[in-house]
């Protein structure tokens, strides 16, 4: 399991909706302390806890108060990405700062 007390964590991305930014199977480094003193802004790629308990990687498309709308970068998957609900700041795990 990820060491959640650390300022960052590494994850393997599963799925294609963030292509071409992140490909299926690529690793990402998530800065978990990125939003301690600020809020996610449009354009950030974030990892957040979905309502089903899984972690998801998406790009913030718009921010309203403490809620954020997220989308996948893959235009072909845009229909499905719109099925995400607004994400609360408290559900955000951190910001994707690197892929490898």
């Amino acid at each position: 399991m990820a060491a959640s007390f650390l300022p960052f964590s590494v994850h393997t991305v599963r799925g294609h909706s963030m292509q071409p930014t992140i490909n299926d199977g690529e690793r990402v480094v998530v800065l978990r302390w990125a939003y301690l003193f600020s809020a996610p802004k449009a354009g950030d790629v974030v990892v957040f806890k979905g309502s089903d308990g899984k972690d998801y990687a998406k790009r913030v498309s718009a921010a309203v108060k403490n809620e954020f709308f997220v989308k996948g970068d893959n235009e072909k998957d845009s229909r499905d990405s719109r099925s995400f609900g607004a994400v609360k700041k408290t559900s955000v795990v951190g910001k994707v700062v690197m892929t490898y």
């Binding site: 590494v10 994850h11 998801y56 229909r79 099925s83 490898y100």
Partner: protein
Amino acid sequence: MNSLLYSILRKFELIAKPTAVYAHCDVPCGIYETDTVRHGVETVKSMTDKLAALQGKSDISTLNAIARMAATKEEWAQRVKNELLILWTDYFRPEHLQKWPNLHERVWKAAKLCSDVKRTVDSQKVAELSAAVDEIAGIFAETKK
């Protein structure tokens, strides 16, 4: 990527095994937005105005600019169409049709206007698209109340 950093991250993975984050979309919640279509129409309007202003010019720089603007207009008009169709097929529900019986026709006409503004450099068509999108966005906003 810097090979040293890559090596460090690989070693870090031995301590903290990477967990999966999902980039596919199977969370059924149902939040949609109309900002993208409005932004798209504004882009199409801007490109149309700029293209119209270049009428009659034929130097190579202008031709290059025309090609780029036309491509941008094409791209964003298609995005608007895609977004409208997403709202139509995925967001609007039977109860919305009961309240706005001509919703199908409105979306259909707006989608056709997207094709029209791609095909032409016609500010009147863009204005019609803008009005059509505003109507649909207005209905969308009403459904959220």
